[in-house]
C-alpha cells in the first residue's frame, strides 16, 4: 500500500515545493529609503539650476599691491572689517631704512635754510666795523699828512712828488674805507634772496622724497576696500604674497549682510527665465531648509559651465546663463560658497497641447 502511493505522494510533494519556490521567488526587492528627500519645485512651470551662494558684494579676492613677505596678518577669518582697516602688512624694513636716510636729508636741507636765514652772524659784525674804523683812522692819518704837507709854504722843503704821494695815499685810504664799509653793509644785509630760494627748494625736494618713501611703506599695508567680513585667509606671517590673479586668493572678503546666489541655467532653458520672477532655493541634503529668492539681475555674459567637482582638471561642459538672486540669511544655516538646488518660476515648455499632462486633480 505504502509502496503504491509513494511515487504519487512524492510527486505531490515535489509539485508543492515547486509552488513554494515560485511564491518565495515572487518577493519584491526592497526599496531603499533615501536619507533625505530630494528638493521639489513649488511652481507649476519652472527652470531648475544649481546655485552658488556668494557675498552681496561678490567675493572680493584681496590682493597685495607689491609682492613681498608677510610680516603680520591683522585679521582672522570671520572678522568684521570697515573700509580702510589694515588686513595684513608686508616686510618694510628696507623702506624704513630708506625713510631714515630721507629724513636725515630733509634735516640737512632744513638746517641749511635756517643758517641761510639767520645770517649775518653777529660775531662777524664787530670785526667788520673795526675794519671800517681802521680804514677811517688810516684815512684820517693820510688826510692829516696831506694837510701838513700842503701847509708847508716853502716849496723847497717838500718835493712835488711827496705832495702828490700823500694825495694818492688819501685816495687809496678813501677807497679802503669804502671797501670796508661796503663789506660791512654786505655782511649786515645777510643771505641773498636767490640763495634762500634755492635752499627752500632743496627742503621741499627732501620733503617730497620722504613722502614718496612713506607712500611706498603705506602700500605695503593691505587695507579692506569695503565694509564686510573676512571669509577666507590664505596668507600667514612669513609667507610670500604674490601679486596678480591667483588660483587661491590671499584673502577673501565680502559683504554678507545680505547674500546673493548665482544660479546656473542651461543655455537651452535660458529663454524661459524672465527677469523679476521669484525663485526658491533648497539646501542640499535637507529640503526643509529653503529660502525664497528675490531677483537681482542677469549676468549679461553667458559663461561656460564649470562642473564643481573640486578636481584639479575643471571640466567645461556647456554654457550657462547666470542669474543672480538675493536673500537674507537670518537664522538659516547657509554659508557663502555653498551649493543649492534652485527652482525658478519660468515660462512653460513648448509642448504640443494634445499631449498635455493628464494630472489627477489638477
Amino acid at each position: 500500500m505504502i509502496r503504491r502511493y509513494m511515487l504519487p505522494m512524492l510527486a505531490l510533494a515535489g509539485f508543492g515545493f515547486g509552488v513554494y519556490t515560485v511564491i518565495a521567488g515572487q518577493r519584491e526587492v526592497p526599496v531603499s529609503k533615501p536619507i533625505a528627500q530630494p528638493a521639489k519645485a513649488p511652481f507649476e512651470n519652472f527652470v531648475a539650476g544649481s546655485g552658488l551662494i556668494e557675498a552681496s558684494s561678490e567675493n572680493i579676492m584681496v590682493g597685495a599691491v607689491v609682492p613681498g613677505v608677510v610680516m603680520e596678518v591683522l585679521v582672522t577669518v570671520g572678522s568684521r572689517v570697515h573700509q580702510g582697516d589694515p588686513l595684513f602688512k608686508l616686510d618694510d624694513r628696507q623702506l624704513q631704512g630708506e625713510l631714515a636716510v630721507k629724513q636725515t636729508a630733509l634735516k640737512v636741507a632744513r638746517e641749511q635754510l635756517t643758517r641761510m636765514k639767520s645770517l649775518p652772524r653777529p660775531e662777524d659784525i664787530p670785526a667788520a666795523e673795526a675794519r671800517v674804523r681802521e680804514a677811517e683812522a688810516s684815512l684820517a692819518d693820510m688826510k692829516n699828512q696831506l694837510q701838513m704837507r700842503q701847509s708847508v709854504t716853502d716849496k723847497r722843503a717838500i718835493s712835488e712828488q711827496e705832495l702828490r704821494q700823500a694825495g694818492f695815499a688819501v685816495d687809496a685810504g678813501e677807497a679802503k674805507l669804502g671797501e670796508a664799509k661796503s663789506q660791512l653793509a654786505l655782511l649786515k644785509a645777510g643771505a641773498w634772496k636767490a640763495d634762500v630760494a634755492v635752499s627752500e627748494a632743496q627742503v621741499a625736494s627732501a620733503e617730497a622724497q620722504m613722502a614718496a618713501v612713506q607712500t611706498e611703506i603705506d602700500r605695503l599695508v593691505v587695507r579692506a576696500p569695503i565694509d564686510g567680513e573676512v571669509l577666507q585667509v590664505k596668507i600667514r606671517a612669513g609667507e610670500y604674497a604674490q601679486v596678480g590673479p591667483l588660483s587661491t586668493p590671499l584673502m577673501l572678503l565680502g559683504n554678507v549682510d545680505t547674500l546673493h546666489i548665482r544660479v546656473d541655467v542651461d543655455e537651452n532653458d535660458a529663454w524661459r527665465v524672465q527677469s523679476g520672477k521669484s525663485a526658491v532655493a533648497f539646501a542640499r541634503g535637507n529640503r526643509d531648509i529653503q529660502t525664497a529668492l528675490e531677483f537681482v539681475r542677469f549676468e549679461p555674459y553667458v559663461v561656460p559651465k564649470k562642473s564643481l567637482t573640486g578636481d584639479s582638471g575643471e571640466r567645461v561642459d556647456t554654457r550657462v546663463l547666470q542669474v543672480v538672486y538675493r536673500f537674507t540669511r537670518g537664522e538659516l544655516p547657509l554659508y557663502v560658497g555653498q551649493q543649492m538646488d534652485v527652482f525658478i518660476d519660468a515660462l512653460p515648455l513648448k509642448i504640443d497641447t494634445e499631449s498635455t499632462v493628464a494630472r489627477k486633480g489638477a
Partner: protein
C-alpha cells in the same frame, strides 16, 4: 474501469518506473534550464531591479542596455528637473573602474555613484553600516558577494579574508574606505559593486569630459509615466524609459545579441525530445504488452472509447507524477544553489509551461498507443 487501468499501470513496475523516470527527467530538464535562463535574463537588469525609487531612467539615446552607459552632460540633470510632471531628478554614475587590492591584484568593479545629497539609488539591504555613512570622507559601500569573493585577499594562514568595514582599497589611484556592506541583486557580469556618492565617483573615474550616465526621475503623483517619458525625450533629446521598459530593453539586447537564449533553447528542446522519446517508447511497449488484457476487456464487452479513456488516464497519471517529481527536483536544485553564483528563478508561468510540455509528451505517447488499441481484435486473447 479506472481502477483497473491504474492497477494495470502499476502492476508492471519496471515499465511504470521507466515511464515516470522519462517524464521526470523531461520535466526536470525543461523546468531547471528554463529557470536558469530566466534567472540569467533577470540579472541583465539587476541594477534596475535594485533601484526602486525612481520611475523613469533618462540616458543618452544610444544606450542599448543598462550595462552600456553613455555619458551625458551634467547640465542635462537640470533640464530634466525643469520638465513639468517631474517630481525630482537625481544624477547617477555607473561605470567599470579598476580597483587595486592590498595584494596588488587588480579587479574591475562596477562603481555606482549616487546623488550626494539624497543618496537616492543606494542599496536597500545593508548588512553592515548605514547608507548615510557614504557621507563620510572617501567612503564606499561594497556588496557582500564582491567583498567575500573577488575583493577578498589571502590572509597569513592562506585562507581568503573578506573585505570588511574599515578596510581601504585603491580605486583608480584614489583611496577608498569601506564604510558598509550591502546585499544586491546579482548583475550579469557579477562584478563587485562599489556604491559611492556621485561627486566621489567622478573623482574616481578616469578623465572624461562628461561623467553622468543616468538621470533618475520620479514622476509627480498622477502623472502618466509614458507621457512624461515622451515629454523628456522631446525636450532634451535624451532617451527616457520607465523602469519596466528599461528592464525589457536591457533583456532584449541580451536575447538579441548573445547566444544565451539559443543555448538554453537547445537544452529545453533536448529535454523535450528525450522525454518524449523515452516516455513514448516505454508507454508504447507497455500498451503492447498489455494488449492481451485490453483484448480481454474488449471481448468482455468494453467499447473502444472506454479503452481509450483508460489509456488516457494511464498516461495522465504517469504524466502528473513525472511532472510533480521533475518540478520538485528542479526546485530542490534551485534551493541548493541559492547561495552560489547560479542564477535560478522560477516564475509561476514556468510551472504552466512545464506542465503543458509534459502534457504534450503524454498526449504523444498516448496517441501512438491508442492506434494499437483501436485496431485491436478481441481475438488476440486467444492468440499464442
Amino acid at each position: 474501469m479506472n481502477f483497473v487501468a491504474i492497477k494495470m499501470l502499476m502492476g508492471d513496475r519496471a515499465k511504470y518506473l521507466g515511464i515516470v523516470t522519462g517524464l521526470t527527467f523531461a520535466s526536470l530538464l525543461i523546468t531547471q534550464q528554463a529557470a536558469i535562463f530566466v534567472g540569467v535574463m533577470q540579472r541583465t537588469y539587476g541594477l534596475i531591479t535594485d533601484i526602486g525609487q525612481p520611475d523613469i531612467w533618462v540616458m543618452d539615446p544610444r544606450v542599448q542596455y543598462v550595462d552600456d552607459p553613455k555619458p551625458v552632460n551634467t547640465t542635462e540633470l537640470y533640464r530634466v528637473r525643469g520638465i513639468p510632471g517631474v517630481e525630482w531628478a537625481v544624477p547617477m554614475f555607473r561605470n567599470m573602474i579598476r580597483a587595486r587590492l592590498r595584494t596588488g591584484a587588480f579587479q574591475q568593479c562596477l562603481v555606482v555613484g549616487i546623488d550626494d545629497a539624497t543618496l537616492v539609488g543606494g542599496p536597500a539591504q545593508m548588512t553592515e553600516g548605514r547608507l548615510a555613512d557614504l557621507r563620510r570622507n572617501e567612503g564606499v559601500i561594497i556588496n557582500v558577494a564582491g567583498a567575500t569573493t573577488r575583493l577578498a585577499t589571502p590572509g597569513p594562514d592562506g585562507k581568503s579574508v573578506p573585505l570588511r568595514v574599515g578596510d581601504s582599497l585603491e580605486i583608480n589611484d584614489h583611496r577608498a574606505i569601506v564604510v558598509g556592506l550591502c546585499e544586491t541583486t546579482r548583475t550579469f557580469q557579477s562584478q563587485p559593486v562599489v556604491y559611492t556618492t556621485f561627486s566621489r565617483a567622478m573623482s574616481f573615474a578616469p578623465f572624461e569630459r562628461k561623467l553622468m550616465n543616468y538621470v533618475l526621475v520620479k514622476a509627480q503623483p498622477g502623472v502618466d509615466q509614458l507621457e512624461l517619458c515622451r515629454r523628456i525625450r522631446e525636450h532634451t533629446d535624451l532617451s527616457a524609459y520607465t523602469r519596466d521598459e528599461f528592464k525589457w530593453i536591457s533583456m532584449v539586447y541580451y536575447l538579441k545579441y548573445t547566444g544565451i537564449p539559443l543555448n538554453f533553447g537547445i537544452a529545453v528542446v533536448l529535454g523535450f525530445i528525450v522525454g518524449a522519446a523515452i516516455a513514448g517508447q516505454t508507454f508504447h511497449n507497455f500498451t503492447q504488452d498489455n494488449l492481451r488484457y485490453f483484448g480481454a476487456l474488449k471481448a468482455m464487452g468494453a467499447t473502444t472509447g472506454m479503452l481509450l479513456r483508460m489509456i488516457l488516464l494511464q498516461s495522465l497519471t504517469v504524466g502528473a507524477i513525472g511532472y510533480g517529481l521533475g518540478v520538485g527536483a528542479a526546485s530542490v536544485i534551485g534551493a541548493l544553489a541559492k547561495d552560489t553564483e547560479l542564477s535560478f528563478f522560477m516564475p509561476w508561468q514556468l510551472l504552466l509551461i512545464s506542465a503543458g510540455t509534459v502534457l504534450l509528451i503524454c498526449m504523444f505517447a498516448a496517441t501512438i498507443s491508442m492506434v494499437k488499441v483501436i485496431r485491436l481484435e478481441p481475438a488476440i486473447v486467444f492468440k499464442s
